[in-house]
Amino acid sequence: MKKLLVTAVAALAAAATALPVSAADKLKVGFIYVGPVGDFGWTYQHEVGRQTIVKEFGDKIETTYLENVSEGPDSERSIEQLARTGHQLIFTTSFGFMDPTVKVAKKYPKIDFEHATGYKRAENLGIYSGRFYEGRYIQGIIAAKMSKSGVLGYIGSFPIPEVISGINATMLGAQTVNPNIKIKIIWVNTWFDPGKEADAAKALADQGADIIMQHTDSPAAMQVAAQRGIYAFGQDSDMIKFGPKTQLTAIINNWAPYYVRQVKAKLDDKWKAEDTWDGLKEKMVMMAPYTNMPDDVKKMAEDTEAAIIAGTLHPFKCPVLGQDGKPVECKGGANLDAGQILGMNFYVKGIDDKFPGK
C-alpha cells in the first residue's frame, strides 16, 4: 500500500511539474489552462491552438501546458514554474490569471507573456481576446427567426461585461427580425456545473423559451434542448455532437491562428507586447456551420456574417438605446468604442429584466 502511494505521489509530482528538457536551442512555449483540456469548451479550444503550433513549427519549438490551474494568487506559482524552467513565451489563458501574470512578468523581464481576456499590459506582457459579441449578434438574428414563442432563454455565468455585451448583442440582432422579442435570463454564477446548467435550461424551457443560448462551458444545456425538441447554440466549441438536430450554430473560439502568429513573431525576434482584439474578420471568432434551419434563415446569417467581416455592419452601431429608451453616449463615432463594449454595464432596450447589481 505504502509503495503504491509513493508511486502515486511521484506520478502526481511528475504530472504537476513541467519537466525540464535538455534541448536548449528550441523555443519553449508554455500554457496555463484554467480547466481540463477535455472540457469540450474554453480550455479545449486553447489546447487545439497549442496542438496547431506544435504541428506548424515541429521541432523548432517545445510546448508545455499546466491544466486545472485555479485562478487567483495560487496560479502565480504555476506561471513562475514555467518561467523558471526555460519557457520564453508563456500564455495564461483565463481572466483570473491577470494579476499573477503581471507579477511574474515583472519578475522575469526577459521572458514574454500573453494573457487572454485581461486588460493589464507591460513591456513583456501582451493581451488578447476575441470579439465574441459579433457571433452573438448573428445568433440573435437566427434565434428570432427560429423562435415560435418569441421568447429566448439565456443562461449567463457571471454578470461581467463580456457576458453582458453578449446578451445585448443577441438582443440587438434579434430585434432586427422581431422588435417585440423577449429574453429570459438566468444566472447560474458558475462557468461550469453541468447539472446546474441543465436545470437552468429546463427552467427556461418550462417558462416558454424555445431557443436556449448559453454563456457557460458545458454541453448540458444543448442536451436539454435536444430532449425538449427545441433549438440551442453551442458555446466556445462546436457542440453539434450533443445536439445533431438541435444546434443552430456555435461560436467557436479559434485561437490557433493567433498562437501561430505570435510564436512565429517570437521565433523571428519580432515579438511585441500588443493588445489584440480580433473577431470574425481575423477568424479568432468563427461560426460553426449553420444547421437545422431553413435556407432563408441560413442566408440571412451568412449575409450578416459577411457584412460584419466587411466592416459594413457593427452590432453596436449608434444609437444604442439603454433600458430606459434613451440613447447611450456614443464614444466611438459611428459605433460604441472598445472601452464601452469591454466594460459594458447596461442592458439595451427590450430586455425587461433588472440589470444585475443595479
Partner: protein
Amino acid sequence: MGLFEAIVLSVIAASTPLLLAAAGELVTERAGVLNLGVEGMMIMGAACGFAGAWITGSTFIGALFGVAAGVALSAVFAVLTLGLAVNQVATGLALTILGIGASGLIGAGFVGERISPAPHLNIPGLSDLPVLGRIVFNQDGFVYFSILLIAGIWWFLYRTRGGLILRAVGDNHTSAHALGYPVLKVRLYAVLFGGACAGLGGAYLPLAYTPFFIPGMTAGRGWIALALVVFASWRPTRLVAGAYLFGAVSILQLHAQGAGIGIPSQLMSSLPYLATVIVLVLISRTRASAGSAAPASLGMAFVPDR
C-alpha cells in the same frame, strides 16, 4: 406539461444524486467513520459509470460500474483509516483529490461521447395520469431506488440487531469492543456501503441527469451530501427532507430568475445554502440536547488492544 409538474420533475432529478451519496455517508458516519472523500468517490462513480454504460450500452451495468468504483475507492480509505488507523479527515481529503485526478484519467477517452439517458418507467394508464402520473409513475430507476434505499437504511438502523450494533460501534467503540462486537469489521462494511452509494450517486449524473461525461462534473455535490448528513442530524428520514429541500430551493431560484423577479442572482444562488442553514438552526433550537446528535465516536480511530 404544467409548470408545477415541470418544477417537481426538475427538483427530483436535482435531489436524487445528493440523496444517494448522503445516504451512504450517513451509514458510514453512524458507524463512527468520517469519510470526507464523498466528492472523490462520486466523480469516480461518474467516470466509471459512464464508461460502463458506453461500453455495454446498458444503464444498469453502468450503474454497477459506478458502484464498483465507489467501493474500490472506499476500500483504499478503509485500509488506511481502519487498518493503519491513519487520520480520517486527512485521508478523506486525499481521497477526494485522488478521485478527481483518477476520474479525469479514466474519463479522458470518453469526453465528447454520448449515451442515451436512463430509461423512465412507463406503466400504461398510470404514467398517463395527470400530474401525479408523470411525477410518481414515470421516473428512472435511480429515483425509485433512492427512496427504497432510505427506507431500507431506516429499517436496518432502527429495526434490526445489525443496525443496533452499528450504532453502538459509532457511539462508543470501546464498549462495543468490550461486548465482543467486531468494531473494525462493522466499520469496514459501513465504509464500503458508503462508497457504493457515493459511486451510485456519482453515476446518476452522467447516466441520467446530463448524459455525457466531463471531468469535474460533480461540481461539489459530494460536499453538499456531506453537509446534508449533518443537516439531517444523522437520521435517514430527515435526510430525504434535507435533500429535497436543497433541490427544491436550487430549482425554484432558477425559475424565479427566469420569471424576472429582480432579486440579485448572487443572492438567489446562495439561497439553497441559506435555507439549509436556517432550517438547521431551527432544528437545533427546538431540540433540548442540541448538537449531541452526532455519533459519539465519529472520526476517532479505533485500535483494538492486543
